[in-house]
């Protein structure tokens, strides 16, 4: 049963306590090298790509592997160098936690919130090994893990945060599962903070820079130069079709096979940027959001060369950058709340919109 309390009640639950004699649980003398990041990540993925597919909600769909995991692995140092601003609402949440709280950050990226409240013990995880090595290099306690399948025992931490993570998950079941995992790992009375990109962007022009994706039912890769050979079992996965020789437009094949698996949850998400504005539904929520990796960045040699060769990144000579596409499912108003509706052991204690993000605070019941 979901209850919505007032913000005042939420503040009461946060039991904000500030102490003057803070102590720090972290020493920052642990340096890490970041060599071979991409190769290692690629190795891992090609191994996975060749394995059989399953219907498990915890199986990572190809679209996330290619347009989330690989991209972050490839852009990790540049991404990290641009991610330092702490968002006041997240900072406020973390500062409101009791001293001695254990905080799990699921999808911690470059770890910008790890150790933010020096009175708490933070453990971060992310699916991107290069990003996690960056965190470890800063002396943070981190591990490589999937936010959809957290490797923590139940009811342990005092708080869990998921900052700008859920919008990278490509199915409603996976998004819900990730929330269930956050709730599972916090203790009774523990708090969960979730923020996601909103479709309702403050800067309306921003969306025009993104590539809307259409959902179509399909089952095969269009371009066979793409990673592993797809078997019939692929029908159980969500797949993304390959770009058609740089036009950004994707063609579809195999309508017959479509019909065979109509009842399966199979979809291919394709670029529909050639459609007129009218055709793009106002409910559009699936996008590619570009990441411009400047030519001068050191990592352009290794990872990006491979990415360009594989066709999942493109050169933009005008901007002097390699352009990666990141998959986003942007959230509409009320969507986070609906995801939580089915979760019986959590109550919404606060929800708000801020800086083009939908945010929600849950308490475990």
């Amino acid at each position: 049963m979901i209850q919505i309390f007032s913000k005042t009640a939420a503040r009461g639950i946060h039991r904000a306590i500030q102490t003057s004699d803070s102590y720090c649980l972290f020493s920052n003398n642990n340096r890490m090298s970041t060599s071979d990041d991409f190769l290692r990540a690629q190795d891992m993925m090609s191994t996975e790509g060749n394995r059989g597919c399953s219907l498990s909600v915890q199986s990572t769909p190809e679209i996330e592997k290619k347009y989330v995991h690989r991209v972050y692995d490839a852009i990790a140092p540049h991404f990290s160098s641009t991610r330092f601003a702490k968002w006041p609402k997240v900072a406020g949440f973390l500062n409101s936690l009791r001293p001695g709280s254990i905080v799990l950050d699921a999808g911690c990226g470059n770890g910008k919130y790890l150790g933010f409240n020096p009175d708490c013990f933070f453990i971060g995880c992310d699916i991107s090994p290069p990003l996690i090595e960056i965190c470890a290099g800063k002396g943070h306690e981190v591990l490589v893990a999937d936010a959809v399948n957290l490797p923590y025992r139940d009811n342990f931490s005092d708080a869990a945060i998921s900052i700008a993570v859920l919008h990278h998950l490509s199915t409603v079941d996976r998004r819900r599962k990730a929330i269930e995992e956050l709730v599972r790992v916090v203790r009774r009375g523990g708090l969960v903070l979730i923020t996601v990109w909103a479709r309702e962007q403050e800067d309306k022009a921003l969306i025009n820079k993104w590539t809307p994706l259409c959902e179509k039912y399909n089952e095969e890769w269009v371009n066979q130069s793409s990673p592993p050979v797809r078997s019939q079992s692929t029908t159980s996965l969500e797949c993304i079709a390959e770009n058609d020789e740089g036009t950004g437009v994707v063609k579809q094949i195999d309508d017959q096979l479509n019909k065979k698996c109509d009842d399966l949850e199979v979809k291919t998400i394709i670029d529909c940027s050639d459609l007129s504005i009218d055709e793009i539904d106002k409910t559009q929520q699936e996008y590619f959001v570009p990441w411009h990796l400047p030519f001068h960045r050191a990592e352009i040699g290794g990872a990006s060369a491979a990415a360009l060769e594989n066709g999942f990144a493109k050169k933009d000579e005008k901007k002097g950058a390699v352009v990666y596409n990141r998959y986003y499912h942007v959230f509409v108003e009320g969507e986070l709340q609906r995801l939580i509706d089915g979760i019986s052991n959590a109550a919404i204690v606060d929800q708000f919109y801020d800086k083009s993000n939908w945010c929600i605070v849950l308490e475990k019941l």
């Binding site: 102590y23 720090c24 649980l25 972290f26 020493s27 003398n29 642990n30 890490m32 090298s33 891992m44 191994t47 996975e48 394995r51 059989g52 597919c53 399953s54 498990s56 915890q58 199986s59 990572t60 009791r98 001293p99 001695g100 709280s101 254990i102 009175d119 013990f121 453990i123 995880c125 699916i127 090994p129 996690i132 090595e133 470890a136 306690e141 981190v142 591990l143 490589v144 893990a145 999937d146 399948n149 957290l150 490797p151 923590y152 025992r153 342990f156 931490s157 203790r187």
Partner: protein, 131 residues
């Protein structure tokens, strides 16, 4: 990876019902000083699985660090104990927060799946056929 982290990590391989505690194998570990905060330890202790913590210290070949049975709260939080070399609270603090496993593995007690620890980072990612 600190032993506090080990204390909360569990194997999530499909079909595993109790992937806890993970058996620790360490080929390389180090210690780093952290200021002791008794309130933090007090808040943490009820959640710590003592047997798992003791097993982890044994795996590091530190049989003397912690006793098999958890000391009483009275003993751990006795006045002045934080300043006494070798006191229970200092040992617990050291075990939970100051030891870092740099190289090794975490073994699922049920499936036998080995999760590597490299450069202090456990890799808990599963393969497609394990989820």
């Amino acid at each position: 990876m600190r032993l506090l982290t080990h204390n909360m990590l569990a194997s999530n391989v499909r079909g595993v019902t109790s992937g806890y505690p993970l058996k620790l194998e360490a080929t390389n570990w180090c210690t780093k000083d952290v200021d002791l905060n008794a309130d933090f330890i007090r808040g943490l202790l009820p959640k710590i699985d003592w047997r798992a913590l003791v097993a982890a210290t044994r795996a590091l070949n530190l049989p003397e660090l912690l006793p098999e049975e958890q000391p009483s709260e009275d003993e751990i939080f006795a006045e002045g104990a934080v300043n006494v070399e070798g006191s229970a609270i200092r040992r617990i603090h050291h075990a939970l927060l100051e030891i870092h496993v740099q190289q090794g593995a975490l073994i699922c007690p049920e499936s036998g799946r080995s999760f590597p620890i490299e450069k202090g980072i456990p890799n808990m990612m599963l393969h497609e056929d394990e989820v």
